[in-house]
Symmetry: C2
């Protein structure tokens, strides 16, 4: 049996869990009539990606944690702290909801998972549990979609906020590829995530990204040569990292 | 009916959900024989705090989101990026597990909830859903416990890591009190959290905290005068915040 929709990145209608298939070669129905008995036993689609089931992480749980090569993406709203001081809470929470939803659509369209949301920011993983041959490029394309889809929402806000400089409001993205540890790193909580130096480097890059910028590590750029071609390089001194990092800067189209 | 153990901060054995009681005055059994039928209907104890049930957040869901005065605590391992480059992944993930577990024990002991874990860092909320008369002091006491309980675990690591300067390994904590929006800010995920300027200020303070330091905002210090008495003040210029912030610095005992 072959997963019906696999290979077609971004189809939001996989019939079996793409994660379980890629990790264990087990077909778990998540849509259609065959999914009903599974759902009765609590096997539902994951909130991290609607093309996988919650069971896709069980493979990791059993092994405690696994090392996997993956691309990590961090995104947040630049100027959110400034914004949160000037905006009423209802509009602020609507903004975060819109931002998270548009990010999720972009990440799912390229087979990534939305692993963490913390305040306005979020973290996505590409290449686990759904395997992606070119996960570096998938993450960059998701980042471009994020920038594109969020610009409109943020632009409509700017006109209503007096005295907020343009360069302060927008989205920043950081991307890095490397080996990460995937598992649950808390004994009291089923909290599946990735940790390791590669995760922290991606987070550091994001913190340095200006409005509309996607900062890509040398490792990711080396894997996604087509997408990184012709982009500007920027030398960065990142907190906790001894050597300077030559990030490639992709700008919003 | 009165919650049997309420008022005794940190008892890990509340018979009814302290959150549902404080928010809605509804007694939901979470321990003992009366809890069994509720458990059969999926009402289980929350992973954010074992003295509340998952239902405690339903109050917020129904209202979409609520504004609440709360104290927000951020903690992470200082030097984690450096550490992650020098340590093998298995030991690194064990370290994160130990850190998260000890933080959780300290936060629960003072009636807070562990709301988010992201990489090595975590975010806790005090005063929701369990009401705490002096939530500023509760958060500071939890931070002291975190510093105390994590020192031992991190110290045992230092001896095994050549060339890692002492000042690079330890825990940093940031605390701020203010109005936050509490709810689910994502339409695709049941992801209960707090957002707002107060959350971001707490995160910024934590990012400036050195090893063994607890940085407290002026708002928190003003509420917890006894605990903040005699502490050093430090002027900080925080990203995204126009005016300088006079943080009080509590050191590890």
């Amino acid at each position: 049996m072959m997963p019906a929709t696999h290979g077609n990145a971004g189809q939001n209608n996989a019939i079996i869990c793409l994660g379980c298939w890629d990790q264990m070669h087990v077909p778990i129905p998540i849509r259609g009539p065959l999914a009903l008995p599974f759902r009765a036993f609590g096997i539902t689609r994951s909130k991290m990606n609607p093309n996988i089931c919650e069971r896709a992480f069980r493979y990791v749980k059993k092994q405690n944690h696994v090392t996997s090569n993956a691309t990590i993406l961090f995104a947040d709203i630049r100027g959110f702290t400034t914004l949160s001081e000037r905006m009423d809470p209802v509009r602020l929470s609507n903004l975060v909801r819109i931002f998270h939803d548009r990010c999720a659509q972009a990440i799912w369209a390229h087979d990534g998972i939305v692993n963490k949301q913390m305040g306005d920011g979020l973290m996505a993983i590409f290449n686990f549990p759904i395997r992606i041959a070119d996960h570096a490029s998938a993450a960059i394309m998701a980042a471009r979609d994020i920038q594109e889809h969020c610009t409109e929402a943020l632009d409509s806000l700017k006109s209503n906020l007096d005295g907020l400089p343009d360069h302060l409001l927008g989205v920043g993205v950081g991307i890095h590829t490397g080996d990460v540890e995937i598992g649950e790193f808390s004994s009291f909580r089923s909290d599946f995530t990735a940790i390791g130096g590669a995760v922290n480097l991606a987070a550091r890059l994001e913190s340095q990204a200006g409005v509309g910028e996607i900062l890509i590590s040398p490792a990711t750029a080396a894997l996604a040569t087509e997408l990184a071609a012709g982009t500007e390089a920027r030398m960065l001194q990142l907190k906790g990292i001894e050597h300077q990092v030559a990030a490639q800067v992709l700008l919003k189209r």
